[in-house]
């Protein structure tokens, strides 16, 4: 008989068996082994915290102009240079991050609430109700939504809260489909039957029993929704329909930079770099979470 050495991988497995590793700690371990995902998480957290702390750590105001100076290339005083109005670009990028990431999370939250409740209800009720509810989603899917978002932003324009509503209203469809599928898959199980026979109401069963059991896919898809929401916000701002100056958002800064890139390249490069890097991190993190939470359907 061969002896098991202490560094043998089987030891770890056996220890886990003894501890009875939960689904979540198991997933966490798998995520930690995914180097790209961990790196993405760290970079994203770094950008996020810097942006959040922007008002306290930045020595400049985001709208403080210094016209005598104009656009300056990066220097010791202004790490990313200044824009044509002499505003510090690093400060504006960080403030822009606050807006872009903030919109990303809030609008995702809107779509999360609508999508999860809608999908879980359709999946749990089943039958005719489900057919009608999902038909509605199918129809909305084929609508050219970007057009309505643009019309909406023009009509009510310049109102910040509307941005969340408009984007959230577009992005909930896929979430609803995913949650419905998951709920359909688990609603036959005994714990749901038990809840029904205890006489619990449908809302209680949906909220307390079904949704907590499909959290995995919800988390994964939420992570992937955030970048697509940020992208939509940036497109709107880029077209001049989203966040209005002198506020800053990454879409707005990129639009500004694109107009002036011929002479002031850094005005395009800095915000574009931060934006792309953030999207990159969130997408990798989403992929990593999918592999960690649902090893069966991992990407390959």
């Amino acid at each position: 008989m061969t002896r098991i050495k202490p560094d043998d991988p089987i030891v770890e497995v056996l220890q886990n068996v003894e501890k009875g590793a939960s689904l979540w700690s198991d997933a966490w371990h798998r995520l930690c082994k995914n180097r790209m995902a961990v790196m993405s998480l760290c970079i994203f957290a770094f950008i996020g915290i810097l942006s959040l702390l922007a008002p306290w750590i930045s020595p400049y105001e985001y709208d403080a102009q210094n016209r005598s100076y104009g656009a300056q290339s990066p220097s010791a005083a202004h790490w990313f240079g200044t824009d044509t109005l002499g505003r510090d670009l690093l400060t504006r990028v960080l403030y822009g991050g606050r807006v872009s990431i903030g919109v990303g999370f809030l609008a995702t939250a809107v779509s999360l609430i609508i999508g999860v409740l809608y999908g879980a209800t359709a999946g749990y009720k089943g039958g005719k109700i489900d057919a009608v509810m999902m038909r509605f989603v199918d129809i909305l899917y084929t609508m050219p939504f970007i057009i309505f978002v643009i019309i909406l932003m023009v009509i009510f324009g310049k109102q910040f809260w509307l941005l969340f509503v408009a984007i959230g209203a577009v992005e909930w469809l896929t979430m609803a489909r995913i949650v419905r599928g998951q709920v359909m898959a688990i609603k036959q199980q005994e714990f749901v039957e038990a809840a029904v026979s205890l006489g619990y109401s449908s809302p209680r069963i949906i909220l307390k029993h079904l949704i907590p059991n499909v959290l995995g896919p919800i988390i994964v898809y939420t992570t992937l929704t955030v970048p697509s929401v940020m992208l939509l916000e940036a497109v709107l701002s880029f077209l001049g329909l989203g966040v209005q100056p002198p506020m800053s958002s990454w879409g707005l800064l990129i639009k500004d930079g694109a107009e002036k890139m011929e002479n002031f390249t850094w005005m395009l490069v800095c915000p574009a770099f931060f934006f792309t890097l953030t999207l990159f991190c969130l997408n990798f993190l989403g992929d990593g979470l999918r592999d960690a939470l649902d090893p069966k359907t991992s990407a390959d």
Partner: protein
Amino acid sequence: MLKFIVSRFLQGVTILFVIVTLAFFMARLTPGGPFTGEKTLPPEVLKQLNAHYGYDDPLFTQYTNYLGRILHGDLGPSTKYLNRSVNELIAESAPVTFQLGLFSLLIALIIGIPAGAIAAVKRNTKLDYVPMSASMIGICMPTFVMGPVLALVFGLWLGWFNVSGVDSFADLVLPAMTLGLYYAGYVARLTRGGMLEILSQDFIRTARAKGVPERTIILRHALKGGLLPVISFMGPALAGLISGSFVVETVFNIPGLGRFFVAATFNRDFAMIGGTTLLFGVLIITFNLAADIVLALLNPKLRHR
């Protein structure tokens, strides 16, 4: 199959009706009409103008009139471009957008499918990692970043292309690359995923055991199955190309539909908003339907659903 097509067609018509109605009423809700410009018009002129365009009728009469005209193929007169009909304006700008869209789609397929196929066949080697990382960059790089960057490098620094306007085919290269590279990333990932799934199935093993040459297996069996997800992606991709056209046409200053639409919403040009929205709706619905039919034809499992 016929039943499926007919029911989807009817559904498409219903959606178009909803789209037209929504666009009509949303545009009318707008504070400020088509004639509120920089200089305020005298009230009598405004009254004349509104009467001329029929904007003084009750809203519902306007709506029924509008629907009637649309059914006759008349999208109405533009309020921004005097004496021009929306039909004319669309006929002028649509070809540019279509060329751009088609060209980008071609780029996406020509780059995406081979890259994905090679990655699937050479799985877990450098030939897999390199194209897949590149595709991730393509997906994460938004068009309004890619566009200016391409314009900066190939237009302003290297001077190979113009960065503004469209006078010749060469002027379409940069905008089409901007949109095409983005979708090439998706196409590559979908092709790879689809092919890997097919390659792991039993009939491939049987074919190998029978001594079918590897090239035939890949080209005849795996690629055919691998393209299914790409085809179903075509519908949404077209919708994406349209919303992409808003951005790309703005970046490269192209007089296409996307730019017209954004300008029309800013100008409150009701007929123009309605007309472009309708056209976008028709395009998206037609392509979704076409993708569904092709999928059903290729995949017998779906045919009877």
